[in-house]
Structures are given as structure tokens and as C-alpha cells.
């Protein structure tokens, strides 16, 4: 059994045994060399040892093998024991055959794999070859595509640039549409944006011209200029049409109008035409309004039509001018609205121009009416007040209008005409005065003509006083009026007084001058005239004073005596020896003087009584009396002078000059 086992395990077992023994022998060798040598000398013992040394429990292979072997036989027969080896070998052979068979299959599989791989390899090679060929073929194409790609990128870039350029330098269809506008000629808000862009582009073209894109620049510029022109033309046509519609009482000025006007500012000619068009429309509206206010009045006749008052020249003219003033102010507002977006520097003068144009229309109807009033000769007073009214309104309305406005020159013309007619009327009156000189009345008072004329003058001055014209303008008027009226009046008075005796003349002149003076004294700017009149009055007063004194002296027969005494010089000898100066004559004269002293009032000139002004009258008699007193003083001095050789002078001149003075004054 052990041998069988040993062989059963075969090869490996054997090898194991030998290797183990070798190993062992090598290990034991060192200590027990001698014993080993003995044992090894005996093969059997060696074999036995070897077998004994085997530790079966530790050898799993053997255990396994044995386990398998134990399942070989169901019966422990001899035959089985004898054939064990064969059996094992048969089995081993069968197993090996199985292996061989199995490997045969594996080999077949591997062979087919190999062939597959081989075919794959060849196809791969083929493909690589083909690829290589293809690559060779396509490399051209690829480089071409790359080029094309680059090119396309460049083109894209260019396209972008071009788009940007077009965006900057071309109008969009919408904008073009906006510029052209809808068929009905309406103007839309977009128009202005488009126009603005056209201008912008036109302006930007200058940059193009500076670069080397000059052709493009020029072309775009040209086309934009064309667009601009047509746009402006369209704009003008539109605003022209709109303006023509602005003839109603009310003016609706829309934002579009204002924008259109502002845009047209760049085209001076069109701008001007537009303003003209606007002005013309408003002008006809104003004329119509004026005629309506004149003839139709307000709703239901209140306020009444202006012409209803044409019999009251001042009110009639005043109403017309007030209407003009108010309407002019309103029209100015309209223009300001119309031009509110206009920025030109000449805006103010433009407004004035247009306003001048608008107000031009009413000039004729106004002129005709005012002239009618003036020419109808309403009398100097009314004419004067009309002149003032015209002056006032010329001034008031001139605040709105430019200097060359037609309405203004029309007003000035009317004013001048009115003033001329007024002064004409005054001159006519004056010339009548001088033509037909009245004789002074018996009472030497002012003639009725004078009184009438002064009343007229007073009336004029009074209206002057309440005039609406500024002071300095009134002043110059005044001097002229006074010259016109007073000078002929004075002339008339002098003429009518020319045939009177000096006394009557003085009294008459004083009365006339006094009337003038009291008339003028109430008004402003008359100082110079008053001074002149006062001087004339005092000159005439002097005459009367002298007349009065000599009248008194002559009634008491002292005039001769007085003049002799006055002219006597001491060198001519004593006065008593002069003829007529003897004591007796003097004494009788002094007696008469005494009676005068008792009732001085009876010896006042009749002319003095006729002086109208009590103050002047008083002054004349007083100064006359003073003169008489002076004369008495002279006589008294002469008589009491011993050199004149009067005996008992005190009996001739009983009273002292002071006594006389006290009695008379």
C-alpha cells in the first residue's frame, strides 16, 4: 500500500521525497554526519526513513489525492488492488485525453480569434492606408476651407463695419417714409427726428471727407442734401398750408407748428416766407375782427359796435385804439407762441416784423375813420384832445411794434394830421381876430372876442391838464399853443387900443392883459408868458400912475408950479422972482390943494375906476398919490428954502409933507 501510494502520487511525490531527504541530509549533515553516512549507506533504511519522515497530515495534496483514490473502489478486491496502478494510469490517461480534447477546442477558438485579429489588422491597415490617402487628398481642401473661413470672418467683420456705417450714414426706410410723409400731406412728429438725422448725417460726412473715404462722403453728402432739400420743401408746404388756416379769431398753435418753424430757421428764405404767410393770415383775421368790432359789437349788441359812437369823436377814436391795443397785445402773444421754439438771435426783431405785418391791415380802415373825424372839424378843443389821445396811443402801441411798422407810421401820420388841423384851427381863429378888430367897449373892459377866445384857451388848457401825454411832450405843445392863441390876442388888443388916448389905452390894455393873466395863472408851463404879461401890465400901470398924479396936480393948478420948481436951478436966482411963482399965486393953488386933501377920492381918473382888478386899481391910485406927495415935498422944500426968497413960507405951505402924506395915504 505505501509503495502503491508512493507510486500513486507519482512524480511529484517522488520528487518531494528526494528533495526532502536532500534537504534533510543537508541539515542533519552538520551534526550527525557519521550516522547519516551509515544510514544512507543502506537504501532501504533510507527509503524507510524517508517514508517515516513524511508527515501525511500536513500534505494536503496527498490527502486530497488519497481522498480521491479512496472513492475509486467500492470493494477492496485483489483485482482492484492489483489493477490499482493501471486504473490510476487509465484514469490519468483519460483525464489527460480530456485535457487534450479541451485544449483542442481552446486551440480552435484561439485559432479563429487569431484569424479574426489578423483580418482586423489587415482591414485596419487597409483603412490606415485609405485614411492616409484620404488625408493626402483632403489636405488641400482643408487649407482651402481654412482660407475660406478666414475670408468669411473678414467678410463678417466688413459686413459689421458696413452695417455700422450704413446705420450712421444712411436713413432707415422708416426715416425716409417719415420724411416723405403720408399721401395726405400730413406732417408727423417723426418727421423732425428724421430731418434731424439727415442733418446729422450731412454733418458727419465732413468727418468722412477728412478720411480717405472722400467719394463716399461726397456722395452721401449729396444725397443727404437732396433729402434735406425735399424735406424742407415739404415742411414749408405744410406749414404754409397750416398758416393759411390760422385766420380764425382764435389761434391754435400746435407743438408741430412750433417745431416746424424752429426747423425752418435753417432756411432763411423759407423761414421768412413762413412768417409772412403767418402774418398775412393773422392780418386778415385782425382786419375782420376790427370791422366786426366796429360794426357788429359784442353778443346781443353789448358791448355796442364801436361805430355807434361815431358822433362822440373821442370815444369813437378811443374805442378803436383800445381795440387795436388789446388786439395787438394778443397778436403778439400768438406770434410768441408760434416762434416759441425758434432760437435765432433775431427772434425779437422777427416778432416785431411779423407784428408790423399783421397790424398793417387795419391801417387803412383805421386811417379812413380817424381822418373822417379829424376833417369833420370838431373844433379846436376836441382836436386837441384827439391829438393827445393819438399821442398816447402812438406811444402805447409803439411798445409792441418795431420802428418801421406801418401801423406806427400810420398813427404818427394821424397824430401829425390832427395836430396840424388843430393848430390850423387855432391859426384861423387868430387871423379872424386880427382881421376884424373890435373897438374897445366904453367900460374899457376886455372885448367879447377876447373873453371867448380866452374861454377857448382855458378849455384847451384844461384838457391839456388832464392829458394822458407825458409832461415834457405837453410842455412843448403848450408853448406852441400859447404862441398860437395869445400872440394874436395881444396883437388884437394893441390894434383895437391904438386909437384911444394914452389913459384909456393903458386902462384897456391892463384890463385885457389882466384877463389873460388870470386865465393862464391856473395852468402849468405858463410862467414865462405870465412874466411877460406882468411886465406889460406894469408898463401900462406906470403910464396910468403918471397920468393920475398929473391929473391931481392939474386939477389943483399946481402942475405948472411943480414943473417950474422942478426945473429951477439955484443959479437962476430966487424962485419967487420967476413968473407965476409969486406968493399970491402959490397961496391960491395951495388952497385948492387943501380942498383936494379933504376929498382925494374925487380926483381919481375915471380910467382908474375902470380897471377890473381891484389890486391893480389900488396900486395905481396909491402910487399916483405917492407921486403927488413927492411933488408936494419938492414944492415945500423949494418954498421953505430961504434962497428962494419967499416971505413967510409957512403961511404959503401950511402943512408939512408928512402931514400931507398922513392925510393921503
Amino acid at each position: 500500500m505505501s509503495a502503491g501510494t508512493a507510486t500513486g502520487t507519482g512524480y511529484g511525490l517522488h520528487a518531494d521525497v528526494s528533495s526532502a531527504s536532500e534537504h534533510e541530509s543537508a541539515a542533519v549533515g552538520q551534526h550527525e554526519t557519521a550516522q547519516e553516512n551509515v544510514q544512507s549507506a543502506n537504501p532501504l533504511s533510507r527509503k524507510l526513513n524517508k517514508i517515516l519522515d513524511i508527515r501525511l497530515e500536513n500534505d494536503k495534496d496527498i490527502l486530497e489525492a488519497l481522498k480521491v483514490l479512496s472513492a475509486f473502489f467500492s470493494q477492496n478486491t485483489l483485482r482492484s488492488r492489483r489493477n490499482l496502478r493501471g486504473d490510476i494510469e487509465r484514469r490519468s490517461l483519460a483525464i489527460s485525453e480530456d485535457f487534450a480534447e479541451a485544449f483542442e477546442k481552446v486551440k480552435g477558438g484561439l485559432d479563429s480569434i487569431h484569424s479574426d485579429v489578423e483580418s482586423m489588422r489587415s482591414s485596419c491597415q487597409e483603412m490606415t492606408g485609405r485614411l492616409k490617402a484620404a488625408r493626402e487628398q483632403t489636405s488641400d481642401l482643408i487649407s482651402k476651407t481654412t482660407d475660406l473661413h478666414k475670408e468669411s470672418q473678414q467678410l463678417d467683420m466688413r459686413a459689421n463695419v458696413t452695417d455700422a456705417f450704413l446705420e450712421k450714414f444712411q436713413l432707415t426706410t422708416n426715416e425716409v417714409m417719415a420724411l416723405r410723409g403720408p399721401r395726405n400731406g400730413q406732417l408727423l412728429q417723426e418727421f423732425f427726428a428724421a430731418l434731424e438725422r439727415v442733418k446729422q448725417i450731412h454733418n458727419d460726412c465732413k468727418i468722412l471727407l477728412r478720411t480717405n473715404q472722400q467719394t463716399a462722403g461726397l456722395e452721401i453728402m449729396e444725397s443727404m442734401a437732396l433729402h434735406e432739400e425735399t424735406a424742407y420743401e415739404r415742411l414749408y408746404r405744410w406749414i404754409q398750408g397750416e398758416c393759411r388756416g390760422l385766420t380764425g379769431d382764435t389761434v391754435e398753435i400746435s407743438a408741430l407748428h412750433c417745431e416746424a418753424v424752429a426747423a425752418l430757421q435753417d432756411r432763411t428764405v423759407l423761414f421768412r416766407y413762413t412768417l409772412d404767410e403767418f402774418g398775412t393770415a393773422r392780418r386778415s383775421a385782425m382786419v375782420r375782427g376790427f370791422i366786426e368790432a366796429l360794426t357788429r359789437g359784442g353778443p346781443g349788441g353789448t358791448p355796442r359796435p364801436i361805430e355807434l359812437h361815431c358822433h362822440e369823436p373821442l370815444r369813437y377814436v378811443g374805442d378803436m385804439f383800445a381795440w387795436l391795443h388789446q388786439t395787438t397785445a394778443s397778436e403778439k402773444e400768438h406770434i410768441q407762441g408760434f416762434l416759441r421754439l425758434a432760437t435765432s438771435q433775431s427772434r425779437n426783431s422777427d416778432i416785431e416784423d411779423v407784428l408790423g405785418h399783421i397790424t398793417e391791415g387795419v391801417c387803412r380802415p383805421l386811417k379812413v375813420r380817424v381822418e373822417q373825424v379829424i376833417v369833420a372839424d370838431p373844433g379846436p378843443v376836441l382836436l386837441y384832445r384827439l391829438t393827445n389821445l393819438l399821442k398816447f396811443y402812438t406811444h402805447t402801441i409803439s411798445q409792441f411794434l418795431g420802428k418801421e411798422a406801418m401801423l406806427l407810421s400810420c398813427l404818427e401820420e394821424q397824430q401829425e394830421l390832427c395836430q396840424k388841423v388843430f393848430f390850423n384851427a387855432l391859426t384861423v381863429l387868430a387871423s379872424k381876430l386880427v382881421d376884424k378888430v373890435e373897438l374897445p367897449p366904453a367900460d374899457l373892459g376886455p372885448t367879447p372876442t377876447l373873453t371867448q377866445n380866452l374861454a377857448l384857451l382855458r378849455e384847451i388848457l384844461m384838457s391839456h391838464d388832464s392829458s394822458v401825454v407825458p409832461l415834457d411832450a405837453r410842455h412843448s405843445d403848450f408853448v406852441k399853443i400859447l404862441g398860437c392863441v395869445l400872440d394874436p390876442l395881444l396883437q388884437m388888443c394893441s390894434l383895437s387900443a391904438s386909437r384911444l388916448n394914452p389913459c384909456d389905452m393903458a386902462a384897456y390894455m391892463i384890463n385885457c392883459l389882466y384877463a389873460m393873466q388870470s386865465c393862464l395863472a391856473l395852468y402849468e408851463f405858463t410862467d414865462q408868458r405870465l412874466e411877460m404879461i406882468a411886465a406889460q401890465i406894469s408898463a401900462h400901470q406906470d403910464t396910468l400912475v403918471n397920468e393920475q398924479a398929473s391929473y391931481v396936480l392939474s386939477t389943483v393948478s399946481l402942475i405948472q408950479v411943480y414943473s417950474i420948481a422942478q426945473q429951477h436951478k439955484p443959479s437962476e436966482g430966487p424962485l419967487s422972482l420967476v413968473h407965476g411963482m409969486d406968493t399970491t399965486a402959490l397961496r391960491s393953488a395951495m388952497v385948492r390943494f387943501d380942498t383936494y386933501l379933504s376929498s382925494p377920492d374925487s380926483s381919481i381918473l375915471s380910467q382908474c375906476h375902470l380897471i377890473n382888478s381891484p389890486v391893480l386899481r389900488e396900486e395905481i391910485t396909491k402910487r399916483g398919490t405917492e407921486l403927488v406927495c413927492g411933488a408936494y415935498q419938492l414944492l415945500f422944500d423949494s418954498i421953505t428954502n430961504p434962497a428962494n426968497g419967499y416971505q413967510e413960507p409957512k403961511s404959503i405951505v401950511i402943512r408939512t409933507p408928512d402931514q400931507v402924506r398922513a392925510l393921503l395915504l
Binding site: 392780418r283 358791448p303 416759441r340 380802415p365
Partner: protein, 215 residues
């Protein structure tokens, strides 16, 4: 239509009347400039100012004619009543004489304006309470008797100034709404700017008179 100072649908014409020195020009100045004018010179003839206000959502332009109170301008100022939609009649509460003259001013206003003209009585200088010479009640009664609107105001402090001008406009606007004020008649003192396009309006207008027409 763009908004802005030119956007308004009506123009109302006002006239301010009253004795000299009652503060007519100052009221106007306070209303248009919102400032008090301390040394206000005498008005020469007639002056005017404008302001746009809003009544019931409607923008209205007031065109205000400020007349001189001096007697010598009376003839001139009388011509300006024509076509006024509103008349502001002013007196000075510290001077009875200015109050006493109201009836003559009122006569003028009634005779020279159209029957629908709104007349507003203003007692100015109500800041000078200490110098008051006309009582509120008295003036109120006068206003009621004559069918006038009435307020005491002060151009100096601005009190009630705005109200006086606005209330007048409201009343005028109310008259328009009632239909008692005929807008189509000339010189109603009100100009209306129609919102509708003016095309059809144009056709109804009579052809403009040629300038040469002297009638």
C-alpha cells in the same frame, strides 16, 4: 400736443378797475409774479399781464388789463371794458372814499361790458386791519345787493389774491358750461381753442375782409 405754457384751451379777458392807489397794479403783479411791488408807479393808461391757470382740468389763459385809476385816464380806460369776460373792481379798505366811488365804477362796468361779464369786488389792503375804514359786512352787503362776488384781499401778503382771480375764472367757466356765455359771439371776452381740427371751422368762417375795405 406738447405740454408747456402755450397749451391752453381758453383765453379769458379781465379788466381791473377802481380808484387811484387802491392797489390794482399790485394785485396784478402779485397774481402774475407772486411778488409784492413796494414802490408801484402810477399806471399810465393801461397795462397788461398774463398767466395760465387751471379750472376744472381746463387750462385757461388769463389776459388781464390793468387800468389807470387816475381821473385823467378815465376816457382812455373806458374803452378797455369792451370784451372783458371778468371785471375786478377794487377798493381800499382803509380809505372810505374809494369804497364810495364803487357805484360809479359799477355803472361803468355794467354799461360798457356785456351782460355776462363776471364782476368781482375786491377790498384790498386787508393786511392793514388797524386802519380799516370799511367793514367787511358793509362791503359784503353791497356786493350781495349788486350780485357781485366779493373777497377782501391783500396784494402785500398775497392773501386771497389767487382766489379772487381764480373764482372769477370759475364763474366764467361755469357760465360757459351753462351756455349763458356765447363763445361764438365776438368780444365775449373768451376765446376757445377747439380740440377738433380746425378744418370744418374754417369753412364756416366768412372770407376775410380785404384790407382795403373801408366800409
Amino acid at each position: 400736443m406738447a405740454s408747456g405754457p402755450y397749451n391752453y384751451s381758453y383765453i379769458f379777458k379781465y379788466i381791473i378797475i377802481g380808484d387811484m392807489g387802491v392797489g390794482k397794479s399790485c394785485l396784478l403783479h402779485q397774481f402774475t409774479e407772486k411778488k409784492f411791488m413796494a414802490d408801484c408807479p402810477h399806471t399810465i393808461g393801461v397795462e397788461f399781464g398774463t398767466r395760465i391757470i387751471e379750472v376744472s382740468g381746463q387750462k385757461i389763459k388769463l389776459q388781464i388789463w390793468d387800468t389807470a385809476g387816475q381821473e385823467r385816464f378815465r376816457a382812455v380806460t373806458r374803452s378797455y371794458y369792451r370784451g372783458a369776460a371778468g371785471a375786478l373792481m377794487v377798493y381800499d379798505i382803509t380809505r372810505r372814499s374809494t369804497y364810495n366811488h364803487l357805484s360809479s365804477w359799477l355803472t361803468d362796468a355794467r354799461n360798457l361790458t356785456n351782460p355776462n361779464t363776471v364782476i368781482f369786488l375786491i377790498g384790498n389792503k386787508c393786511d392793514l386791519e388797524a386802519q380799516r375804514d370799511v367793514t367787511y359786512e358793509e362791503a359784503k352787503q353791497f356786493a350781495e345787493e349788486n350780485g357781485l362776488l366779493f373777497l377782501e384781499a391783500s396784494a402785500k401778503t398775497g392773501e386771497h389774491v389767487e382766489e379772487a382771480f381764480l373764482d372769477t375764472a370759475k364763474k366764467i367757466y361755469q357760465n360757459i358750461q351753462d351756455g349763458s356765455l356765447d363763445l361764438n359771439a365776438a368780444e365775449s371776452g373768451v376765446q376757445h381753442k377747439p380740440a377738433a381740427p380746425r378744418g370744418n371751422q374754417l369753412n364756416t368762417d366768412q372770407p376775410p375782409n380785404k384790407e382795403g375795405c373801408p366800409c
